[in-house]
Symmetry: C2
Subunit: 225 residues, 2 copies
């Protein structure tokens, strides 16, 4: 069985888990705290990031780009029904939106929220910085306006078909939603899309997650939120 080194609320790990679940592949999840930079992690990945995919007889796939490509290569049932569209032009739109989520949304919102609320909680003597969280929240408002604008005319974020970009966004929003940072009242179009993707069987893996001593925000696991 493939093994995934991951952290429950890490959005890149969540993206990998969604892909495995969507493709119906059982995966052994090994929970780690990448920020503690254990020697075993640094040996696999000097960048100290997750996810890392480990399979017998193969070198590890390290980092979100390597892992999503590897899962798609090995486990996509076929090029027609996988999460990567068959047409190059549709894949280009998928990559534009993946980049938006993995680089821009992560950079302006998610990584700050995870750092302040999860990493600092785990570090002795560190406390979340409210000023950083305020900036992340203000940035998220801008991102949600863009997503609402897209979903006003699109069923899925890249167009008519669900792709990796939907899973990437859902992975990030689900981590933020666990922590109570998504204002769904102000995001009607995005909420409709999220309700749809949240109802997929693949999503159950994430909705059952619990972080010790930190229960999810109300509505996190409700399909009718």
């Amino acid at each position: 069985m493939p093994k995934l080194l991951q952290h429950r609320l890490d959005p890149a790990s969540r993206l990998a888990r969604l892909m495995f679940a969507e493709y119906g592949i059982a995966v052994d999840l090994e929970e780690i705290k990448p920020w503690t930079r254990e020697p075993q992690l640094l040996e696999l990945n000097p960048a100290a990031t997750v996810p890392i995919l480990i399979e017998e007889g193969e070198p590890p796939a390290v980092g979100v780009l390597a892992v999503v490509h590897t899962i798609e290569d090995r486990y996509s049932p076929s090029a027609v029904v996988g999460l990567f569209p068959a047409q190059s032009r549709d894949r280009a739109e998928m990559w534009r939106l993946c980049e938006w989520v993995l680089m821009k949304l992560n950079d302006e919102v998610t990584r700050y929220v995870i750092e302040e609320k999860i990493v600092k909680r785990d570090k002795r003597g560190a406390t979340p910085d409210p000023a950083v969280l305020r900036v992340a929240k203000a940035n998220l408002v801008e991102h949600m306006l863009y997503f609402n604008w897209l979903f006003a005319t699109r069923h899925w974020i890249g167009g008519e078909t669900m792709t990796l970009a939907d899973f990437a966004l859902a992975a990030h929003l689900s981590a933020l939603d666990y922590l109570g940072d998504v204002d769904w009242e102000q995001a009607v179009e995005t909420r409709q899309w999220y309700a749809r993707i949240k109802s997929r069987p693949a999503f159950r893996t994430l909705l059952n997650d619990r972080v010790g001593g930190m229960p999810p925000h109300a509505g996190y696991a409700d399909l009718d939120f």
Copy 2:
């Protein structure tokens, strides 16, 4: 002819140009300043980033992930001799290193140097912040140690074959080298690799670049630097 909206010293644009040159495809370069956020740019890409690839009869490919995938899809001579290795495990290592460069090196070094030295120079009344440049320089030292360590045992950064990851790193280092920010004296192994990749015909497109009023650092265009 495909058209690339780009900025000369933007490393992501340089990566796209290296791919086109390597594949022998003529491309019409349209120089823009993404930081001025012109309405025409925002309409194509609300993230206001380059490169953007425009081809007749196709929707634009926007952002570095979309552009590198699109160039590989449309112009790679074949899966055997392209910049993406044929084996999934080799592509995983390529993506790990692409992520290192596009996300980590960019995040910790290149984007600060570009912002302080290029963007601020272009903005009325803005001056580079020496404290930011000092941090970027210190981070670059750490990155170069890792690259030296890789190149001590590898001919190309991902292994025995040149891949997209070599072009990604060369694109970033070439932009930093133009600005005089690479200390080659302290980077023997990486320098040998850079001399090799710099000698490729594809690299000429970058070595002829000049930014108005800002000549390149000595050695930038020398194959024997």
